[in-house]
Assembly symmetry: C2
Homo-oligomer: 217 residues x 2
DNA sequence: TGACCCTTGTGAAAAATTTCTCTAAATTAA
DNA sequence: TTAATTTAGAGAAATTTTTCACAAGGGTCA
């Protein structure tokens, strides 16, 4: 391949952002196939199951190396391992949860079951009644304790599950305490300094987009 | 403007999908500004708050018409009304919820508060203990009742909040009963016939993307 | 071995999307 | 009223992303 690898063996000129998002889709697909006992698959088969063009799949992988065998396809165990490593899923990620309401609870439960690799290590809220209680396996602290708590824990990922009005402040505190990546469930754009990664998971927005396409018929 | 309007007065050649997603972001921003009592804003100000390029903002709007005033900017009440209409938010949308577990409950609660315009009108599950109970304000039916129930209700939007293994079947039932748009929370790609709109809201995937960018430093 | 399928990886072409740049419109200040 | 300033809208350029098309690798079976 032509990608410029760095010393860590796996990085490159410029990988399109859409590629990264699709990588996650491929991973899901591969996990599903493997769970069904399938050992190998071609790009065409993976394309059919994900709805993504086969050439796109091959091109996406080509940014990171050569993982298939012409004539045969991809060995799924190997492919899963490769994509997992590309995505950094071989590392453990500690997560701070800000907002211990309904959504926060659902998330902590969901992550407990579904996400090996991601661990909520502390939760924060402003509601005095919640502080001192636990959510999943971890203690709920007052948000003002965040800097002190993360000085100990050194978590790099934050989840924002607070109302809109509290979201920017929550993010500022997370970033100030060393968090590098944030999953935002609040329905607003968070402003962060360059280098901090934010992903928005906004239900309102998704619904609105559905609404648009519904109208467009 | 140059857009080809159809008889309904608002449609056009081809609006990029990313534009639709940003429209929702602008709407959030405008709502926030209005809530703070701001009456007008320029594209530059909106750009600063959303992190989106000002030219992009103007271009996105230009697909739908001319909503600003040179020298002045945009009248926010008017802009909100326009974007809302473009997104189809002036219509009521009835929603079927499949999966009445933790996530389903959190969603129904969230939608009760946050979403005027979207109403969960029925919920479905396979767990016999849940059937007959209510979630939010609506009854939980057995999933096999879905066709019958929606023959009455005629909802066009479905929310899939079931485990991965049950997701495709849930979608097939939704589509068969007339649902046109689906919000999918299950961590897998759903296959639907052309014309059906699916939006994936996959926490696992979002986390994996964060993980990638975290590693990439 | 040789003919015949398949399927990958990739350069090049095509398409889509974003950003730039400039014109014209509206406001404010003098 | 005029000059200076601000800002929208839009054609064009630049960039990014997707799709195409094909050479080469690898397997199977006669």
């Amino acid at each position: 391949m032509k990608t410029a690898t760095d010393s860590s063996g796996e990085r490159l000129l410029k990988v399109p952002q859409p590629t990264i998002e699709r990588l996650s889709t491929y991973l899901q697909c591969v996990r599903g196939l493997r769970a069904d006992g399938v050992l190998t698959a071609s790009s065409t088969e993976i394309a059919a199951r994900t709805g993504i063009n086969a050439a796109q799949f091959r091109k996406d992988l080509s940014y990171f190396g050569e993982f298939g065998t012409p004539g045969l396809g991809y060995e799924l165990a190997e492919l899963e391992a490769h994509i997992s490593r590309i995505m950094g899923l071989d590392a453990r990620h500690d997560v701070l949860l800000v907002g211990a309401g309904n959504l926060g609870s659902a998330l902590s439960q969901y992550m407990g079951f579904e996400h090996r690799g991601f661990h909520i290590v502390a939760a924060f809220d402003v509601d005095m009644e919640k502080i001192g209680q636990t959510i999943g396996a971890c203690l709920i602290h007052h948000i003002d304790e965040l800097p002190k708590v993360n000085a100990q824990l050194n978590a790099q990922v934050g989840v924002v599950a607070v109302p809109r009005a509290a979201a920017q402040e929550a993010v500022d505190k997370l970033v100030a305490s060393g968090v590098q990546a944030i999953l935002n469930f609040a329905p607003m754009s968070l402003l962060v300094r360059p280098g901090i990664v934010v992903r928005n998971v906004d239900l309102t927005s998704q619904m609105e987009v559905l609404s648009y396409y519904l109208r467009a018929k």
